[in-house]
């Protein structure tokens, strides 16, 4: 039977067909839909949102040690968080097949960097598969499980946004039988004390040699010999782009892209006149191929940054300058915080207090945009709190107004340790937790604070203010960010407080059918409006500038913060 599936949906199907028993993940674009699909469509798999990616990989490791097939799913930067367990995991004995899904984001559609996670496969010395279509995304999960179990190693399956989010026709199959877990003890292979780890290291080195032989013989690495004037080595979506651009060329398509198939590459190179390596981001293949003593062309003309495309490849291979065709400049539509977003009032209040606002990863990062202009740093999950602490420590108390904002899901992910550090080291910064009771940026996933699990079950709902107090913060206030006057007052008090302070700005995401807003657009009394444009400074998409007075459009959900800051009292009740 055939279905049209995205790469992510295909991976979920692949997990089902391959007999995966447990999958753990933290949501992150472009990987989020994998576990959402598993939870919705394949309920025989135990699926969990973990508070962060390190936990997700460790949970998967436990399942594997118990003999079950398992996967941990994350975006590229999530692997950084999981890097600690990842680097030692290959030393240990993998029992049930264990697949790490790394979804990379060339072009930074929704990420803070565009790191190339193929480097992690080499760094951790684990095999890597790279699907080039939805069909392969599904099929490669079973392949990865078989490799994982045969070679007793974790396997990385690396996608990119274009594979994860593109849809294609997939022939689906029936699932294999799910293996029952059996408790065993393997202390020499699982307790990584120096004495044991020292013995295990040579195992990895021997294994990676054996895996290179597998890579040489694997049908996942296929040479397609056509016109031999040009030979192209590529993997993933780059293969599809190159195939589109140069349909008659010869190809070596790499489905198993680490370790590289040295013999196949040498053989392929000997059959073509001009060898090209076409890959997005780093010269990962190119450097290894050059180290084999094989001459090839690649990053001297193929860009290091951003996505590739058939057009870029055509231009590069034709020896032309790579440039985008002309497009008239049009007014843009940058992403923005939604009308009625509960973050808006809090960010505005902080900015009005002339605070420095260390930011984090979430919808509120969009508060960076003008006119709100209310985010001063954004680096990685959980970083904002520690940025604020480091800054306020060097300035000393009372010198500068240093604050940080962080979302609830991000706080549980990796903000708690930062806050613990701040309390422990007698920090003085104001930390605002923007608690909208969901993981909003990735499309509203549950987390430990929502009282619901990924599979829809009930869970204990974390009491955020009690957590904050338990970490050592004594000054804690909960505010409703739509009550702007009170919010401003509490911000002022917190900034004047001699010691660390936390404000929990609590109101649900407006996309969650929030009852905190009326849902009815407000209206403007044109006679009263002085056109002072203070309301425009909120950056709300529902407020339009006009010649004589402002306008409120049908996008308005009636949150009312513009009415609260309107000195002329020109904005009023629902129509």
């Amino acid at each position: 039977m055939k279905k049209v599936l995205s790469g992510n949906e295909a991976i979920a199907r692949g997990a089902y067909e391959a007999g995966v028993r447990l999958a753990s993940a933290y949501p992150g674009t472009p990987s989020t839909e994998i576990l959402e699909t598993v939870a919705k469509e394949y309920k025989s798999i135990l699926s969990e949102w973990a508070p962060n990616e390190k936990v997700a990989l460790e949970v998967a490791t436990g399942a594997s040690y118990a003999g079950a097939r398992t996967m941990a799913v994350m975006k590229h930067v999530g692997v950084n968080v999981a890097a600690d367990p990842l680097m030692t995991l290959p030393y240990t004995l993998v029992r049930g097949g264990l697949v790490l899904i790394s979804a990379d984001d060339p072009e930074l559609f929704s990420s803070q960097n565009e790191q190339d996670n193929r480097q992690f496969a080499r760094f951790a010395k684990i095999p890597m598969l790279e699907p080039a279509s939805s069909q392969e995304a599904k099929d490669f999960i079973l392949e990865a499980m078989l490799i994982s179990e045969k070679y007793q190693t974790p396997v990385m399956l690396r996608t990119t946004t274009r594979i994860a989010h593109s849809m294609g026709v997939v022939e689906i199959h029936e699932p294999v039988e799910v293996k029952e877990p059996v408790l065993e003890r393997h202390p020499k292979e699982w307790v990584m004390l120096p004495a044991n780890a020292r013995v295990r290291h040579p195992v990895i080195e021997e294994r990676i040699k054996n895996l290179m032989e597998l890579s040489n013989s694997s049908p996942l690495n296929i040479a397609e010999i056509n016109n031999t004037a040009i030979g192209i080595i590529a993997s993933g979506v780059s293969y599809q782009y190159a195939k589109e651009a140069m349909p008659d060329a010869s190809f070596l398509k790499l489905g198993m892209s680490y370790p590289l198939p040295d013999k196949k590459i040498k053989d392929f190179a000997s059959k073509v006149k001009e060898l090209w390596v076409i890959e997005e981001l780093d010269p990962f293949f190119e450097e290894q191929i050059k180290a084999l003593g094989i001459a090839c062309k690649g990053k001297d003309v193929i860009p290091m940054c951003g996505e590739l495309s058939p057009d870029i490849i055509r231009q590069a291979l034709a020896g032309k300058k790579i440039e985008k065709p002309a497009q008239p400049e049009l007014p843009g539509r940058p992403p923005s915080m939604c009308p009625g977003c509960p973050h808006r009032g809090m960010l505005w209040a902080l900015r009005r207090n002339k605070a420095f606002i260390a930011g984090d990863i979430g919808c509120y990062t969009l508060g960076f945009l003008p006119p709100l202009d209310a985010i001063d740093t954004c680096q990685c999950m959980g970083a904002g709190i520690s940025h604020a602490h480091g800054m306020s420590r060097v300035f000393g108390p009372g010198k500068e107004k240093i604050t940080a904002v962080i979302g609830d899901s991000t706080f549980y992910h990796s903000g708690m340790t930062g806050l613990l550090n701040l309390a422990y080291n007698n920090g003085v910064a104001l930390i605002v937790i923007l608690d909208n009771s969901t993981t909003a940026m990735t499309g509203a996933q549950n987390h430990p604070g929502t009282g619901l699990t990924l599979m829809g079950g009930k869970a204990p709902e974390v009491n955020l203010s009690e957590v904050v107090k338990a970490l050592g913060i004594k000054w804690v206030e909960i505010v409703n960010p739509y009550e702007l006057k009170n919010t401003r007052k509490k911000v002022k008090e917190a900034l004047e407080h001699d010691g660390p302070s936390v404000i929990i700005s609590k109101s649900p995401c407006v996309l969650l059918k929030s009852k905190a807003v009326s849902g009815k657009p407000l209206k403007v009394d044109n006679d009263k409006c002085t056109n002072c444009k203070v309301c425009i400074s909120l950056g709300c998409p529902a407020i339009e500038a006009g010649a004589d007075s402002i306008k409120i459009t049908s996008l308005c959900v009636g949150c009312g913060i513009c009415a609260e800051i309107c000195a002329a009292g020109a904005i009023g009740g629902a129509e």
């Binding site: 279509s133 294609g168 026709v169 065709p325 497009q327 539509r333 940026m441 998409p541 407020i543 500038a545």
Partner: protein, 186 residues
């Protein structure tokens, strides 16, 4: 065949392109579709590439190879001109949503037809939003526009109806199929 669907987040482009892909798979084609989602994109530009043929490689359309561009919003029809060629068909829904800089009074809403007609003369403006409103289903503009698009594709009406029946929730199925059929008359 390369089809580009453009518009603004919230207009139902993703579902529309899912339906088109499903129809083409059922028609026996190889299909690939690509769009980007993830950031809080409400009100952001949305572009979906749908390609079908006996065999499709790249999930994105190369520049100058778009056969039909259907835009759910007027300005968005002119945002991706490099994908067009001189005989591309361009279908534009008569509907304007001001971008933030126009809202803030810094830009004016541009006149887009002359921009497009520098590349292709084959442009059609359709009353998709008006039609959806008239039948009492303003959110169903995406399906009305699929009706319009279907006129230019060599796929039988029954296959579309059958697919819509399978893909649209029962509560809103009847009114959307009505919208689709109305779209075929625009």
């Amino acid at each position: 065949m390369n089809i580009l669907m453009t518009g603004v987040g919230g207009q139902g482009i993703i579902l529309a392109s899912d339906i088109l892909s499903e129809v083409m798979m059922r028609a026996g084609k190889d299909v690939k579709k690509s769009e980007i989602h993830g950031m809080a994109q409400r009100g952001g530009s949305v572009m979906s590439h749908v390609r079908f043929s006996d065999k499709v490689f790249s999930p994105i359309i190369p520049y100058g190879e778009c056969d039909i561009l259907i835009s759910f919003e007027e300005l968005e029809a002119a945002r991706y001109l490099p994908y067009l060629k001189k005989d591309s068909k361009v279908i534009i829904n008569k509907f304007r949503l001001s971008p933030p800089s126009v809202i803030a009074g810094k830009d004016t809403y541009p006149d887009i037809l002359p921009l497009i007609e520098k590349v292709t003369k084959d442009t059609t403006v359709v009353e998709g939003s008006k039609t959806a409103k008239e039948i009492g289903n303003p959110r169903g503009v995406n399906i009305v526009l699929m009706g319009v698009l279907s006129k230019y594709l060599d796929t039988p009406e029954e296959l579309w109806i059958e697919t819509l029946n399978d893909m649209i929730a029962e509560k809103i199925r009847k009114i959307n199929i009505e919208g689709f059929l109305k779209g075929r008359t625009l």
